[in-house]
């Protein structure tokens, strides 16, 4: 057996967290804890890059598979990656160190505990993306609630308790039905091993109910309209690093789940429920874009824009076209980078002015020009300007959608215009215009660490915008295979 690289990816952050647990929690100066956490996550990032380099792009088989008996004769601890999941793992390991750098200003007390929570969260998130057993997946998927609940609840804003509870209970309610479905799959097919289930297939008569149970969980997590209401609350109250993790990675778990489980395991039901997904996605795109237009709070606006962007993602996945699914994956990666950057941008001005309200800013372009440039870049990436990664994703999704359903594609395209409207208007109100407040003059431009984080995010946003091939090459074979498998399944039923 080769070196268990995936398990070490999962375990390393936890080991780092354990190490932190035994360091002293000093008030004020916590640089040791921060360096330990940073070191751990950067090593993890390097391991994941190594994973990507040694990943074989020419096959859709799962690679680096580890298979260990876990519960005798019932569940195996099975992890592995294919072209789809590897990108999410890299996204996770890339975003987490940036989060840790960003905690400087936003987290004032109990920094060590905060870092422990983030590290444990990273372990669970990587686990979600490599799990190849439904029970193992569920375990990681649910376990992530604990650190996130604490991150929002302990370090959050004034309404943090309400938001933390809402986040936790919404997600839990969605997930328990998935648990019923997973156990039922075990009794129907005799295994919860995803690879075996891909081969065996699940009896078509059960698929609809099972699909709905998985959907209930993923829809809450995505979040899809009308169960998206926890997201703005959670985002607004969470500390910056928490919002970043939530937007960049947690939301992607559901999109990933849709591709890996809903499409892969229930092809017949996926066909049946495509209209439902289309409707909800289109509503999410149009409706939440309008809501985003009306927001006074920057974080809330970006949160609603996340809902709209995830609407594109779900739309793309269920077009069941090569372009649509590839577009969705790229859109998720891109949204992971861009929304993380936007939340960090909000965090930057919030740390200085302690306000997230749009109307307390204005005319800051002359005061903090570097910030304004980077903020503009991410604003444009969020609305999908060609040359940014956001464009590639949206374009591919719409292309897939036009192939499948003209009307839906047209309505979704309108959403792109609305997206441009709320993002540009946000930028205009915050950055341009008259200087509304004399205090704004005291703001200083990006400091070194902020500059570092935002440029780290800007680089891949632009790079993949101009040259998306590395992403597309990685996912292409896996997506093609997924669609082929889907089509043969449909044909045989």
């Amino acid at each position: 057996m080769n070196f268990p690289i995936l398990s070490s990816l999962i375990l390393l952050p936890t080991v780092g967290a354990l190490f932190l647990f035994f360091t002293k929690d000093k008030e004020g100066n916590n640089s040791t804890a921060k360096y330990v956490a940073l070191f751990t996550t950067i090593v993890n990032f390097l391991i994941s890059i190594y994973l990507w380099i040694s990943f074989d792009q020419s096959t859709s088989n799962f690679q680096f598979v580890e298979d260990r008996t876990w519960i005798e004769g019932f569940i195996n601890y099975k992890v592995g990656v294919d072209g789809i999941s590897i990108l999410f793992i890299i996204l996770t390991t890339f975003i987490t160190p940036l989060c840790i750098i960003s905690v400087n200003n936003s987290v004032k007390n109990r920094l060590r505990d905060f870092l422990i929570a983030i590290l444990i969260m990273e372990s669970f998130m990587i686990g979600v993306f490599c799990a190849l057993d439904l029970v193992v997946f569920y375990l990681f998927f649910e376990a992530g609630l604990i650190p996130m609940f604490l991150i929002i609840g302990i370090w959050g804003g004034p309404k943090r308790v309400y938001s933390a509870f809402k986040f936790f209970l919404y997600t839990l309610l969605g997930s328990v039905l998935m648990l019923v479905a997973i156990i039922s799959i075990y009794w129907i097919a005799g295994t919860t091993d995803v690879i075996q289930l891909y081969e065996l297939g699940i009896d078509a008569k059960y698929q609809n109910l099972l699909w709905l149970a998985f959907f209930s969980s993923f829809a809450v997590k995505t979040p899809m309209w009308p169960v998206h209401t926890w997201l703005p609350d959670a985002h607004v109250e969470a500390p910056t690093a928490g919002s970043v993790l939530l937007a960049a990675i947690l939301l992607k778990m559901a999109g990933y789940g849709f591709i890996r489980f809903s499409l892969g395991l229930f092809p017949v039901a996926s066909e049946v429920f495509t209209p439902l997904i289309y409707t909800l996605s289109v509503i999410a795109i149009i409706f939440t874009s309008f809501i985003a237009l009306m927001q006074e709070d920057m974080k809330k606006l970006i949160a609603y824009s996340s809902v709209a962007h995830m609407g594109f993602v779900t739309l793309g996945i269920f077009t069941l076209q090569q372009q649509g699914i590839e577009g969705s994956i790229i859109q998720m990666i891109s949204h992971g980078l861009v929304s993380a950057a936007l939340f960090l941008c909000v965090g930057v001005v919030y740390d200085r002015m302690h306000s997230r309200m749009i109307n307390s800013y204005g005319g800051i372009v002359t005061i903090i020009p570097k910030y304004s440039i980077l903020f503009m870049l991410f604003t444009l990436a969020a609305l999908g300007l060609p040359g940014t990664s956001g464009f590639i994703g949206e374009f591919l999704i719409l292309m897939g959608a036009f192939k499948d359903n003209f009307l839906v594609a047209v309505i979704a395209s309108l959403g792109v215009i609305l997206g441009a409207a709320y993002m540009l208007w946000l930028y205009k109100r915050v950055v341009f215009g008259k200087l509304v407040n004399e205090d704004l003059k005291k703001m200083f431009d990006l400091n070194r660490s902020e500059y570092l984080i935002l440029s780290c995010l800007a680089f891949p946003t632009l790079f993949f915008g101009f040259y998306p091939d590395p992403l597309i090459n990685t996912i292409e074979v896996s997506v093609t295979d997924l669609i082929n498998m889907h089509n043969t399944n449909i044909a045989s039923k």
């Binding site: 929690d25 029970v135 375990l139 649910e142 376990a143 609840g153 328990v176 648990l179 019923v180 156990i183």
Partner: protein
Amino acid sequence: MENLNLVLPEIFISLSIMFLLVLGVFKKNSSKITFNLSLFAILITTIILINETFSVSRETLFNESVVIDSMSSLMKIITLIGGFLVLVISSSYLKTFKIYNIEYPVLILSSILGMMVMISSNDLIVFYMGLELQSLALYVLATYNRDQLKSSEAGLKYFVLSALSSGLLLYGCSLVYGFSGSTNFDVISNQLNSNEYVLTFGIVFILVGLAFKISAVPFHMWAPDVYEGSPTTVTLFFTMVPKIAALTVFIRFLYVPFLNLIDQWQMIIIFLSIASMVFGAVAAIGQTNIKRLIAYSSIGHIGYTLAGLATASNEGIQSSIIYISIYVVMNLALFSCLLMLRRRDQYYEDIEDLSGLSKNHPLLSLCLLVILFSLAGIPPLAGFFAKFYVFKAVLEQSMFFLAIVGLLSTVIAAFYYLRIIKIIYFDKEKDKYDTDHSLWLKFSLTVSTILILLYFIFPSQLIEVVSRINII
């Protein structure tokens, strides 16, 4: 001649009780030595039990009125370990209230003896004898802090209601005897058939009596008051040990004498299960006293164990036993925390007293965090696996309604566990609590928390032990 070695644990523990009583009468100030000797007695009993009976698959004694099988030995071991831990962590609490007397260990030993008899019973009369022995000891234990009004009230309430349920149980037994002509479980099992309507009354009376003992809804009314009023260590005993015995008897009744009447009792158990899960979750939300809250949460947890029993399958029984074992560990951990909330010889038991605990006592709060999330059934903690096994067994029998109601009630229950976590972690801090706890208390908290936290690494072991239990 019967093989008396099989009941040697019971014999040894009865002799110890008599010896300790005599010792207490003739020796002045013998509390400490009684405590230590009784701990010693429990240890020896456990060793004898493991030596003599653990490998026995099924043997009967005394005209088949006592049965020794893998279920009885496992449950007796859990009972003994539970009793041992309760005794060791009780000392400092009892000393604070100046009730550190010889009666306490003797009463605990007698109730354990009663439970062991119950667990092994294969006959209505033997069963009833064991039940009454443990109940009488428990009545006294509930009032053990007799100078406190609440404790006396708890004991009296428990006595009156429990006596009533014992009466119902006895009436049910007499009806069953009337129809089957025997008090032996195996004979009853062969004699009973489902055509007799009056027999249903007998079954219902017996089930009501048993449901009362494990405080399943709608026979739970005594639990919150008794749990709140009794001394905390006794409450710990109540929530752990008698439940194990009562559950074993429940399993034994359902699957030996009433096995052929599944149609008659399955709906009743499903109802008890659903009612307990939902009521336990909803009623706990409004509580302000931790012990009352634990009472309601234990009602909910009993609902999950009953869900396993309702399946009428070996997997279901095994999952219930796994559930109750994990629940016992979680409860022990929770009560260890509760016993640590002490400030200058006063114990605190309101939820508000936990406010901001994480600032002054980070380790204790971390333990509580783990325990509460585990009780709520969030993976990867032990409580999740407990629920997972139960629902796996339930879904195997295609009982979707039960599974979905059960899982939805875990969401409701998660709310009140989260509320405690919120109070510990998000709220303003209060004064520090004392930190000079006894070594045993720290030990039991550490070990049980680690067991809960790391159960997911070795989940197979417990299943392996339990899978030897095949009742049907």
